[in-house]
């Protein structure tokens, strides 16, 4: 693909996103809730688009296509299990997060833990865990898009230049109006993700594989068997299954819908998007296994597939992959910035004014973007380990999150230590590569975390205002 066409297209895309980001700014945000939650007044359509674009990263069109190419249909089970888990979790947790967020003026996911357990250190532990786990994950988005642009331009756009462009794009798409900018640009990015994938699917089905028949199952029957060992399927699927309640960048989106109808539209819109996008990505992987057998590096399956399609289509799909990376990255950075301000700085200095808190949190956006950029340049081998353990590590918040809404006997001690001990256990297992009895770290980690949470909660005293929190929540939930 011509580098000049690629650069021009990215610049046009950048300009369009920057315009939307700027347009989203109605007035100067004076509160954390306005900048990070859009004053809890985002409509259902934008909520569903930002939820979808934040959730589905460049992993789908590069990583999932590659895994499907290499291992076949089990990857569909892995990704649809995530979708199934998310839909159930959203039905139960979205009303609770939204109602409690509004009732107690909560801005970040970890702040919910601090409020419920009445100890800021619970929120601090969760926020630090998220920062440690998600900065490498955001860096990988940068690296993935950087490699893609470098490969497709034949090296004319260097990896460093590509990552700087993507980082700048991520920053500009969120800076002016925070979540309002992100929601608007995410709507644009989610649209191109879906449209480009549908166009590519039509081209493959009618031009490259017309003989395959009407079903995905006849393209490459060898790839239709369940091939992953069960321990691997469980170990990879479990953390993603609970993604909707353990990953702060998506949990924070549960605070933003303007009303109950908007929450419903967000869930239904995301369900539709996730189902279609997952099927399309798996279709690309299966198709590539038929069209391009023998690629040694599975992640190259999508770039190689793009070399078989007309340049304009390849360009649109490339932009959609960049869009997926940017929309995930800037949402993570925006959420981490709010958590740093609300859960760490505010905990250290409770008298910090909201205006100063907002300024410091906003300052963190370019700082975290810069850290991700530096991480990506050095290509630390550690980043791969840290990013793969991101979902597993974040899973250690699950016991305290469950206890927040469903267990009156849950205590701050149980919540705090379940996050700390669970996080350390799972981190140690990932770094040392330990898999006792062949079982993957997240499975051991969540068992340890739940054990610590329940045991400590039974031997310590629940927060004094537990009943007030639960009663208020119960009253709010009657509106659903």
């Amino acid at each position: 693909m011509s580098a000049s066409i690629l650069i021009c297209s990215i610049l046009v895309w950048f300009g369009l996103g920057a315009f939307l980001s700027w347009k989203a700014k109605k007035k100067n945000a004076l509160s954390m809730a306005e900048y990070f939650l859009g004053n809890r007044s985002i409509g259902g359509f934008l909520s569903s688009m930002t939820y979808s674009a934040t959730t589905y990263s460049a992993f789908m069109m590069v990583g999932l296509v590659g895994i499907t190419y290499k291992t076949g249909i089990t990857s569909l089970g892995f990704e649809l299990s995530y979708l199934i888990g998310t839909v159930f979790l959203l039905m139960l947790f979205a009303p609770r997060y939204w109602s409690a967020g509004k009732a107690f003026n909560v801005v970040t996911p970890s702040e919910m833990l601090s409020v419920r357990y009445e100890k800021p250190r619970v929120g601090v532990a969760a926020a630090i865990l998220c920062l440690v786990m998600l900065i490498p994950y955001a860096s990988v988005q940068l690296m993935g898009a950087g490699y893609l642009l470098e490969t497709l331009s034949g090296g004319t756009i260097s990896f460093t230049t590509a990552t700087v462009i993507i980082a700048l794009m991520s920053f500009v798409f969120s800076w002016w109006a925070g979540i309002r900018s992100v929601a608007l640009t995410d709507a644009l990015q989610a649209s191109i993700m879906l449209i480009a994938s549908i166009m590519l699917a039509f081209f493959i089905a009618f031009t490259l594989l017309p003989e395959a028949g009407e079903s995905i199952t006849t393209i490459n029957p060898n790839n239709m068997k369940v091939s992953w060992p069960f321990h691997m399927f469980l170990g990879l699927t479990l953390p993603w299954f609970f993604f909707a309640v353990t990953n702060p960048q998506v949990v924070q989106r549960l605070y933003i819908p303007k009303n109950i109808t908007s929450i419903r539209n967000m869930i239904l819109g995301f369900s539709f998007f996730g189902f279609v996008y997952t099927l399309l990505c798996v279709f690309f992987g299966i198709s590539a296994s038929k069209l391009l057998p023998g690629i040694p590096a599975a992640d190259k399956a999508m770039p190689r597939l793009l070399s078989m399609v007309p340049h304009p289509l390849a360009l649109i799909v490339t932009l959609s992959i960049i869009a997926a990376a940017v929309s995930t990255m800037n949402s993570i950075i925006l959420t981490l910035s709010s958590m740093f301000g609300r859960d760490i700085l505010k905990a250290l200095n409770p008298h910090l004014s909201e205006q100063k808190e907002l300024i410091l949190s906003k300052t963190l956006i370019p700082v975290i973007t810069g850290i991700c950029l530096v991480f990506a340049q050095y290509k630390f081998s550690m980043i791969a380990i840290l990013s793969s353990m991101a979902s597993g590590g974040l899973l250690m918040q699950l016991p305290s999150i469950w206890g927040t809404f469903f267990w009156k006997k849950a205590t701050a001690e149980g919540a705090f230590w379940s996050i700390v001990i669970g996080g350390i256990s799972v981190g140690t297992m990932y770094i040392t590569g330990a898999k006792p009895l062949g079982i993957w770290p997240p499975v051991w980690g969540i068992a340890v975390s739940f054990l610590v949470f329940v045991a400590l909660s039974l031997f310590t005293t629940p927060p004094p205002s537990t009943d007030i929190f639960m009663d208020r929540l119960k009253k709010e939930l009657k509106n659903f």
């Binding site: 249909i73 089990t74 569909l76 089970g77 649809l80 299990s81 979708l83 199934i84 888990g85 839909v87 159930f88 959203l90 039905m91 139960l92 009303p95 995905i216 199952t217 239709m224 068997k225 369940v226 069960f230 399927f233 469980l234 699927t237 299954f241 009303n259 109950i260 109808t261 929450i263 419903r264 869930i267 239904l268 369900s271 539709f272 189902f275 099927l279 469903f406 939930l477 009657k478 509106n479 659903f480």
Partner: protein, 63 residues
């Protein structure tokens, strides 16, 4: 937790159990694709019907 939600949790446990057990037993060699797609569609339909009443009160009460 309301009674409706308790039923939902029971259904969710059943769906998740099927999601993990069936592909590794009954449809391991063939049929996993249709099974996972069917189960996902069933869940999406459940989501649609479970949330159907959401927002009805807010119109009446003018929230």
């Amino acid at each position: 937790m309301e009674r409706k939600e308790k039923y939902l949790v029971l259904v969710a446990i059943g769906v998740v159990a099927l999601d993990f057990i069936v592909p590794y037993t009954i449809v391991k060699e063939t049929g996993a694709f249709a099974f996972w797609v069917g189960l996902a569609l069933l869940t999406l339909a459940l989501g649609y019907f479970f949330t159907k009443s959401w927002g009805k009160n807010e119109t009446r009460r003018g929230i």
